[in-house]
């Protein structure tokens, strides 16, 4: 009896993995055909950085350097990730609804958004450091860890919020209002972690923030997985 239960749950997990793999493949393929989101968001972030460069000319203070980067990332990621549910047509949603379980849909969207954000933030960091070259973080590796953690957290939070906003049927503004209060604590932790890298502190000082960020992400993913099935069926 017990082994039957274990077999069943292994089968369910394998089925979920299969669905997730298929859906990610679908997302990447669709994106690869049009290349709309990735190019759009990349151009958005590059233009924003360039606008900031033209208005600030140079950033003398390293704290301003850090803060400005995260503000740009926040807005770029809201625009990038919110596409995931808001852009889908009713037909596309119905297609994945018939094809896969809600958990698979959510996981695949989140993973896809993490991939998208990783590309976006890496390019953005490179361009940002190129333009505002008065300062580079002494601990680039730790700064990049903060950027990677930021991509993951932005994706997990914004994916669920964009699902809520899309079901409410009122796109852009609702997305911003709903996601800001949720993302601010994460953003504060990220800026703190990035500031440690900017100040060149040893890694031991940052373990608290890294652990907190991972914990927040686990909480967010767990609540999203619990709630998404209710949101998904109409």
């Amino acid at each position: 009896m017990r082994s039957l239960f274990i077999n069943k749950s292994i089968f369910a997990v394998m089925q979920l993995a299969k669905e997730v793999k298929y859906l990610i493949h679908k997302e990447v393929l669709l994106e690869w055909r049009s290349k709309y989101t990735i190019n759009g968001v990349l151009l958005y972030v590059v233009s924003t950085i360039f606008t900031c460069y033209l208005s600030f000319v140079s950033l003398g203070d390293k704290l301003t350097w850090n803060a400005l980067f995260w503000v740009i990332m926040l807005f770029a990621s809201i625009n990038g990730v919110s596409k995931s549910f808001l852009q889908e047509t009713k037909g596309q949603q119905l297609y994945s609804y018939i094809l896969a379980s809600p958990a698979a849909v959510l996981i695949s969207k989140t993973v896809y958004n993490i991939l998208l954000m990783l590309v976006l933030t890496t390019v953005a960091l490179g361009f940002y450091a190129l333009v505002f070259d008065t300062f580079t973080p002494p601990d680039l590796l730790l700064y990049y860890v903060a950027v990677v953690l930021g991509s993951i957290s932005f994706s997990t939070v914004f994916t669920m919020v964009s699902a809520i906003a899309s079901k409410a049927g009122n796109g852009g503004m609702l997305m911003a209002i709903l996601s800001f209060p949720i993302i601010i604590p994460v953003l504060i932790l990220l800026i703190k972690l990035a500031k440690n890298a900017v100040d060149g502190l040893p890694w031991e000082n940052s373990y608290d923030e890294i652990a907190m960020l991972l914990a927040v992400n686990v909480i967010m993913v767990a609540t999203s997985l619990l709630l998404f099935p209710y949101l998904w069926r109409d």
Partner: protein
Amino acid sequence: MNKTWWKILGSVLVIYTAIAGLLLGVPRLPILNETIRNLYFHVPMWFAMIVLFSISVFYSIKSLSSKSEIDDIKAVESVNAGIIFGILGLVTGAIWAKYTWGQFWSFDPKQNFAAISILLYFAYLILRNAIDEEQKRAKISAIYNIFAFPMMVVLLFVLPRLKDSLHPGNGGNPGFNSYDLDSRMRMVFYPACLGWILIGFWVYTIRFRIRTIENKQQQN
């Protein structure tokens, strides 16, 4: 009498703490001086808010499975009542800060995070306004409420501990427990917390009853 005893208890406790909190003796501490009495009026607001928001999450979870309109109204009305207490908590804190820290709003993590957690619930109310269809509104706003609750807990209880704050109980500043040794304060503080939680709950039940009556009138 069965249904009203807790209302009488709440009123008596709040009246008692208002009088005793202003008249009874308090320990003499530098800088704080008489402002220490704010403890009786500021901290209970947050307790009442947390209790009301927890009630709201409980009914949001319930309404997701029961799909009943009553649970939805309970969830939104407890948020409405909780926000009142949250704003009162911010205001009493800011007035106290003016006399001890010198400014109504200094860049203190506790103040900032409390303000953000209030924003979270304003966003919840705006989300409700954005959706017209009742069933859909109940479902989606319940989901957002449950999704936001863990973040509010992180904001109010976890993050302020990581940051340096002037707020009592943070960053080496003496917390309530250190002047709690004075048992005179305990005699007022605990009744104040219980009294304000009961009053908050009473406000919520009144709002809930008004809303159900309004809904019935609209249906007829």
